[in-house]
Amino acid sequence: MEKFIRILGSRALGTLRTMGKMVIFLAESLYLIVVPPFKFRYLFRQIRFFGTKSLMVILLTGAFTGMVLAIQLFYTLRKFGSDALLGPAVALALIRELGPVLSALMITGRAGSSLTAEIGIMRISEQIDALTTMALNPLRYLSVPNILAAVIAFPLLAAVYDVIGIYGGYLVGVKLLGMSSGTYFSQMEHFVEMSDIRMGIYKSVSFGVIVSWVSCFKGFYTNESGYGAEGVSKSTTEAVVMASVLILIWDYFIGSVLV
């Protein structure tokens, strides 16, 4: 029994320590965002990494999400005789919820994982130590550009996801199921408000912070997950799982507050 309590206590302390470290990591990164020197070269490179390179997967998943939504919503709405509301239903579901969340999950899988692996390899090959011993703050080069780039790229990618999803819904609703295109778009204009778009943007920005923060943190402390290549692989998995779970939890909270 005593052994069990000791193990439980040690685990709880370990988790608390990690949480504390994560908060300090984020606080220091946010502080460095506003304190010069600014590393614009690294920022532009990371915007390309998060943004441009994720575009294809966003286009593909966005289109199919919109198409699936249109099929499911069309049959549901028809039961209530409201199939004319298909356009706004697809648009609202995408703009308020699915666009920000699913695009963030897709970027986590594509960019978050490779970011953790890249920083993790820098850790095990002493590149981060090299920065430290040059009296340079590694967070300024590794975490700050990524957090900023994610804050810029996530809302833009979510917007692309929304637009392509709405078009996917249009293809299914109008071209496949025979709705009139006028009904699809005019109803949308009537129901989607600026507050819905703002909610999507707030969500995307906060997801950008979560994904970049967790990915950088896990890569930076990859040696605490294990040694060598195994440590990098473990920290990459942990980063993707933790970021994905946090996205969904945070989505609920932000959704409850901003509803």
């Binding site: 890249e118 390899i121 820098m122 090959s125 002493e126 590149q127 130590d129 090299a130 430290t132 011993t133 040059m134 009296a135 340079l136």
Partner: protein, 242 residues
């Protein structure tokens, strides 16, 4: 001058350093030798402030590194150059970008001066035509040269070498040792070399210190170490020479 006083460090209850005492004078090249896993790299990581000891102190020009603020520690590090065991080159940058990275990040030199200094640093370590290559495209020996060029570029007063020749063939090994000797002559830095390469390292170092059982068990000129009567030193140096 660097003074290490009573340095102790344990990992999970296993004592790695058990009271290391040593003094490194300015412009001296000191080789720290010892068995594998004996704590040489741990000692070096303490000297460059990457690890904190359980006990003891490290004095750099009379100031205790362990009592320094981050800003003060960074000022000390500005005078250090480090050649890591695996070279620690930034693999997303070209060789030239790696070499001039400290200049770009830490000085206000004009781009033309940075290019000049970068080319000169690469010439100093005998490298030509590799500027645009990436670290993964060059050999291990070349990586060590690039790491030395990067360490030298800000003309530090002290350079730490963590096993700079491990895994290299005898010809490249000797060329790296010659490079250390030549650059030391040119720049006059204090050199601290962690090495296994006995007897080759005796030709490079002014002084040799042997770390064994977590302590410095012998220290002196290469000749003094060769004629040391301590059975551990005798066995280690003798076996390595054989």
């Amino acid at each position: 001058m660097i003074q290490i006083i009573g340095l102790e460090k344990s990992f999970d209850g296993q004592k790695v350093l058990q009271g290391v005492n040593m003094t490194i004078a300015d412009r001296e090249v000191v080789a720290i030798i010892g068995e594998s896993g004996g704590g040489k790299t741990v000692l070096l990581r303490h000297m460059i402030g990457l690890m904190k000891p359980d006990k003891g102190s490290i004095m750099v020009d009379g100031a205790d590194m362990l009592k320094m603020s981050k800003g003060e520690l960074d000022k000390v590090r500005d005078r250090f150059g480090i050649v890591f065991q695996g070279s620690a080159l930034f693999d997303s940058m070209t060789i030239f970008e790696n070499v001039v990275f400290p200049l770009r990040e830490k000085t206000d030199y004009a781009e033309s001066d940075i290019l000049d200094k970068g080319r000169r640093a690469l010439e100093d370590v005998g490298l030509k035509g590799v500027d645009e290559k990436y670290p993964s495209e060059i050999s291990g020996g070349m990586k060590r040269r690039v790491a030395l060029a990067r360490a030298l570029i800000l003309e530090p007063t002290t350079i730490f070498f963590d096993e700079p020749t491990t895994g290299l063939d005898p010809i490249i090994l000797n060329s790296i040792h010659r490079l250390i000797i030549n650059t030391h002559k040119k720049y006059g830095f204090t050199g601290i070399i962690i090495s296994h390469e006995i007897p080759e390292i005796f030709a490079v170092a002014d002084k040799v210190a042997m770390l064994y059982g977590g302590r410095i068990v012998a220290s002196g000129t290469p000749d003094e170490i060769k004629s040391e009567n301590d059975p551990v030193v005798k066995q280690f140096v003798g076996a390595s020479c054989d």
